[in-house]
Symmetry: C2
Subunit: 125 residues, 2 copies
Amino acid sequence: MEEEAKMVGAAFVDHYYHLFDHDRAAVVSLYHPTSMLTFEGQKMQGGDQISAKLNQLPFDQCLHVISTVDSQPSAFAGGVIVFVSGSLRLHEEEHPLRFSQMFHLVPTGEGSYFVQNDIFRLNYG
Amino acid sequence: MEEEAKMVGAAFVDHYYHLFDHDRAAVVSLYHPTSMLTFEGQKMQGGDQISAKLNQLPFDQCLHVISTVDSQPSAFAGGVIVFVSGSLRLHEEEHPLRFSQMFHLVPTGEGSYFVQNDIFRLNYG
């Protein structure tokens, strides 16, 4: 159960940030109508709101460099909690921005997962 | 639902860190045998292991100063996900340590919550 959570978390993190950095408009496929995103304190719910937020961020090109990934099975049957720390490199910025982000992944019932909960914060020093 | 999650998260954060900073041995009361803690990548499960870890941290007096608290209802009935950022001030250290921590709170069925998932990371950089 713990090993499975670790594998799911690692695979998700690879997939999520690769998609975000190379085809951001496609990230919406990982969210469902019940999904929640809190981005720097701002709350969105559902694929449309979340997609609008992610695609309107004030930068085009970016690269997420991941430092740590911690995963645990959640209390929800088959769910996985993933906690990520890393840095976000923007094309036009010299200094990367440190961030922390957590996801609660819930099985779709079709062998994959969607993001039920997503909370993102920049780390200020 | 969202407002309730916000209230639960805020009350929990106040309670948890006050207890941690003033009576650390009592924090164990917030965990159950199924609870999981990942502390700087090290995994513990159940009140005994979690309590041992928290009480063996290499500092006695500490003060958590909270910067942000983001809460969302989880997919688990009545559960609340809480994401915290802040700094940890140690008695013997001049510079506070920045940290991020997330909790998944699950109802006990008796009107309160226990910590099912807890992931802690110091923020470096």
